[in-house]
Symmetry: C2
Subunit: 237 residues, 2 copies
DNA sequence: ACGCAAAAAATCGTATACAATTTGGCATCT
DNA sequence: AGATGCCAAATTGTATACGATTTTTTGCGT
């Protein structure tokens, strides 16, 4: 129906205003890697930080827990999720499973203006890659994920869109934990190739490129068990 | 690794005990259609019903809201979700998109004992179809969904498993709202055919059957806008 | 000094309390 | 009689309070 401005921000449904803000703020912080995996998120601290009571802080943390971005342990508190290698594999397996499908849907209903929107995203991404500094790096991470999210939005299925939001966010955590190469985001040129394939209506090629792209990200991971943040193991190698 | 007993009940992670029980109880009630779409779920009532404070009742309702089974409206309260025709289409589109993938994964790693487990589920399903009465009908609905959920469990991907749980639950709501035929569950024989195809290692056929199966369920729906439970439109036709 | 036990502090789990908003009813006016 | 405005009841939004559990600190004995 409408271009790309699908139901991304959710009109007004999610009940209270405060919880939503807090949830989104923390989620962004996690996705942009300003919060490291394993970081403790005390209810009181979160509440104080956002000037709300523990009630709302707790609600936000529980929501994030449902998305798999924070893990809450009974009577111990909430922590930024620390995905295990197995979880990481499942996250990427899930992406391999659903992204081709989303791509086909998106390609089927994509409009010219949406293609232009995608190209603009890519341009912005390139610009950020060129820049230096933490801020640019964080924006680059977000932009890289936004490409996949925009594709999901174009597909027109808000449910798949939400699934992808979760998977992209969790992928960011995985890359933060297990990523090897310094390049924080995934191969940028691959995004462009996918858009080109879509534009040429070559669906099979687009899907193939997408799978290759995901495999490429995954190949950059060193999926070995890592215990708590910094202990003996850190000095053994 | 292990047969079918994957991480279905989630060991102990989901924080508090009470909230989880309430959430599961209400979810079951919705899936088994003891709660109709649109039914108001007052926080006080829910709390009294389960002998807990509004705090826990509210937490449970918010969790269900995140799963799409209840919709909470600011300052108005929580209601059993009333999926729109468009939402219904998206739910089934999502299922068509991911179930073949799950099926392939499941077929790839299925063991003999898991096949037997599936066959046993089918047997139980047939038995329930034969029986009469509300209780049997409800059990039949649950069994029908359990087939798809078990397949997801066999696939070994807990993330996709959770997605499927949400989709199956929401499908139940959609069928309750828009289903036409009296037969509450989807074609039982189709489940059996899928298992056979898996057993014969005929993946393409299994996927084809699965898509056909989902289409079959969807074809039984009358996806036309229905406004609130009973108003003028109810008398116009 | 080191290890262990008990107390103190911090943090979570749940209930209750109060403020804000909505809903329904009653009185009043046209 | 019907419509309108206002007040009371009910319900949600948020904060605070209290009990339970975990973690840290402290102090003692060996």
């Amino acid at each position: 129906m409408n271009p790309t401005s699908s139901a991304l921000p959710t009109p007004d449904e999610p009940t209270e205003t405060g919880t939503r803000q807090i949830r989104d703020a923390i989620r962004d912080a996690i996705v942009e890697r300003r919060l490291s995996p394993g970081t403790k998120l005390s209810e009181s601290d979160v509440g104080n930080l956002f000037n709300v009571s523990r009630t709302l802080a707790r609600a936000a943390l529980q929501a994030l827990s449902y998305e798999g971005l924070v893990s809450v342990e009974k009577n111990r508190g909430a922590f930024v999720a620390y995905p295990s290698p197995d979880e990481a594999r499942q996250i990427f397996a899930a992406r391999r499973l659903i992204e081709p499908g989303i791509l086909r849907e998106a390609a089927a209903r994509i409009t010219q203006s949406q293609i232009q929107h995608l190209r603009q995203l890519l341009l912005e991404e390139s610009r950020l890659i060129g820049e230096r500094g933490q801020t640019a790096r964080r924006a680059e991470i977000k932009a890289s994920g936004d490409f996949h999210l925009t594709l999901a939005a174009i597909s027109g299925n808000t449910i798949m869109q939400r699934f992808m939001e979760e998977l992209v966010a969790r992928s960011s955590l995985v890359i933060a934990l297990y990523g090897q190469s310094t390049i924080s985001s995934c191969g940028h040129s691959e995004h462009g190739d996918i858009v080109s394939a879509i534009e040429n209506k070559d669906l099979d090629r687009a899907c193939h490129l997408m799978l290759h792209h995901i495999a490429h990200i995954e190949a950059d991971l060193d999926l070995r068990e890592r215990k708590g943040q910094g202990l003996k193991e850190a000095f053994d190698l």
